[in-house]
């Protein structure tokens, strides 16, 4: 029971807590290094389990004009098995469920637009999309990066756990719903219920947000450069720190995204935790403590 009490947090702990980093852990298999001396590097590929050893300088193309998503996804996997580390997907034609379930290091360049559920369930690849994406892009992403040049639909980055998901244009409603880690960056505006039930991670909105921003968020941090139509239940304004600004500067320069007013225009939204019972003790545990 001694672990139930603790001393006051240090300055660094306080700052990291304010940024939503205090309990955040690196997620995704590609961020963990495994080494099995018996199986060796040849089997695992750089020590990562069940991944292919790819060469980023080996480049190949897929023309998706006359292919459905199932065959495109199978072809991506085949090419990774053949060692291709850079794949260009031509003519995706806004089809659904393209480039999903990639659990490997890979440079994937999508020369067009995706439909719904694009690039979902990924763990590791760096994806660049020249066009637009439909609903639920990057859903359940574990690690890696997705950079979208145009607009995105609703449920952008639903339930992501890690990695960077960046849209340079506008996105739809419920952006980052249920996100549990990672970073979502929106270069333009976002719709209603952005950050709904957010649990961890950081979201950066350079433009405006629709109503109920951060509604019922448990934790995590939202930075907004424009104006939200309204804040959601239990979402409150936080205090921007130098640490926040340094992180924003570094992150946004990395993806060449910046609000009109620069870093100084950002404000911060955190959970008010009035509805918070996330880490509370179970009733039986409370009895033991008492």
């Amino acid at each position: 029971m001694a672990a139930l009490t603790r001393s006051a947090p240090s300055e660094q702990e306080r700052k990291s807590h304010e940024m939503g980093m205090h309990t955040e852990q690196l997620t995704g298999r590609t961020q963990q290094v495994f080494f099995d001396i018996d199986l060796g590097e040849a089997h695992h590929g750089f020590g990562l389990p069940d991944t292919f050893d790819v060469d980023f300088n080996k480049r190949g193309e897929i023309d998706a004009s006359n292919m459905d998503a199932k065959h495109v996804n199978a072809r991506i996997r085949e090419m990774m098995k053949e060692g291709y580390g850079t794949i260009v997907l031509k003519n995706p034609g806004a089809k659904h469920s393209m480039a999903v379930g990639i659990l490997n290091r890979l440079n994937l360049i999508i020369d067009g637009s995706l439909g719904y559920f694009g690039v979902g369930l990924i763990d590791g690849p760096n994806v660049r999309i020249a066009g637009r994406v439909g609903w639920s892009c990057g859903e359940n992403m574990m690690s890696g990066t997705i950079l979208i040049e145009k607009n995105a639909g609703s449920q952008f980055g639903a339930a992501i756990r890690g990695g960077d998901l960046v849209c340079k244009g506008d996105v739809g409603s419920r952006t980052g719903i249920d996100m549990k880690g990672g970073t979502i960056i929106v270069g333009g505006n976002t719709g209603a219920f952005t950050g709904f039930m957010m649990q961890r991670g950081r979201m950066v909105i350079c433009g405006n947000a629709g109503k109920n921003l951060g509604d019922s968020m448990y934790d995590g941090t939202i930075y907004i450069g424009g104006e939200p139509q309204s804040l959601g239940v239990d979402a409150v304004w936080g205090e921007m720190t130098d640490l926040d600004k340094e992180w924003l500067e570094r992150k946004l320069r990395m993806y060449d995204v910046m609000p009109k007013g620069g870093i100084e225009s950002f404000r911060k939204i955190v959970a008010g935790k009035q509805l918070w019972n996330y880490d509370n003790l179970e009733p039986t545990e409370k009895k033991l403590v008492l």
Partner: protein, 311 residues
Amino acid sequence: MCGIAGVIHRGGATGVGQEMTAMLQSLRHRGPDSTGFAVYGVTAADEYVMRLKLAEAEDLETDHKIRDKIRDRQAEVDKRLAELGVDTLAVEEPTPYAFRYRLRYSGDTKQLATDIEQIDGAEVLSLGHALELIKDLGDATRVSQTYGLGGFRGTHGIGHTRMATESDVDIRSAHPYWAYPYNDIAVVHNGQITNYWIMRRELERLGHRFMSNCDSELLAVYTANNLEQGATLEDSLRASIKEIDGVFTYLVATDKELGLAKDTMAAKPMVLFESDDLVALASEEVAIRAIVPREIDTSDPYDEEVRVWQR
């Protein structure tokens, strides 16, 4: 789930029948039960096109006397048209139960529609100078081929692929719905309306008629009622967001306009493409790609968004 789509050209008539067929066929996975089109062509000012059905498609399978009944019903339609002084210019019969009448008439079209619908089994699907409303069971390609829609030329249109959730798989419950008795107004809808019965009873008390138990029909009747009260299409769309509960995205077309309304939760999808000469919108971008097969910039309308485009 359902899929909806719409297209409006700003530069005159084009192959809108073929375009709507391609768009709706690419949305087939959102609803394979039935497909419907409301397309707007060019008709002489004193002429009307009336689309009507005199039986349900499944009646052909279940009622061995249905063909005789349809013949009798059509004779009654012709008789009533003659009594009203309607000049019947042409009659087409794309299916044994669906008919297209080209008419010349200078009287009250509400009276005309009411008189026809008093015939047992008859339902006027649309009546107007420009609107032709076609709906049947099956996917877009099948319906389009059956009704010869591929060659239809017009300025704009809306359409729907239906996955039946609230009501039966039949033509009566298929979209689009004509905003009876207003000429040239049609509605397609994706969503669920949760205050349907409250709203329906209110509208029925005002004298409006419902032909199905499909919640989407409410939007057509609601729009008709608002227009009757003098509202513009945009006024009606905005009012619907406040007065109608549920999750919905719907399109309304008139002889000159195409309108969009999205509910307060933005729970139903819509993707929009706008250019100088064309506006295309659909539940999924893949439908827009079916008629604009190049890289384009598209966007999602937000919650409570209302848009109206003119042809």
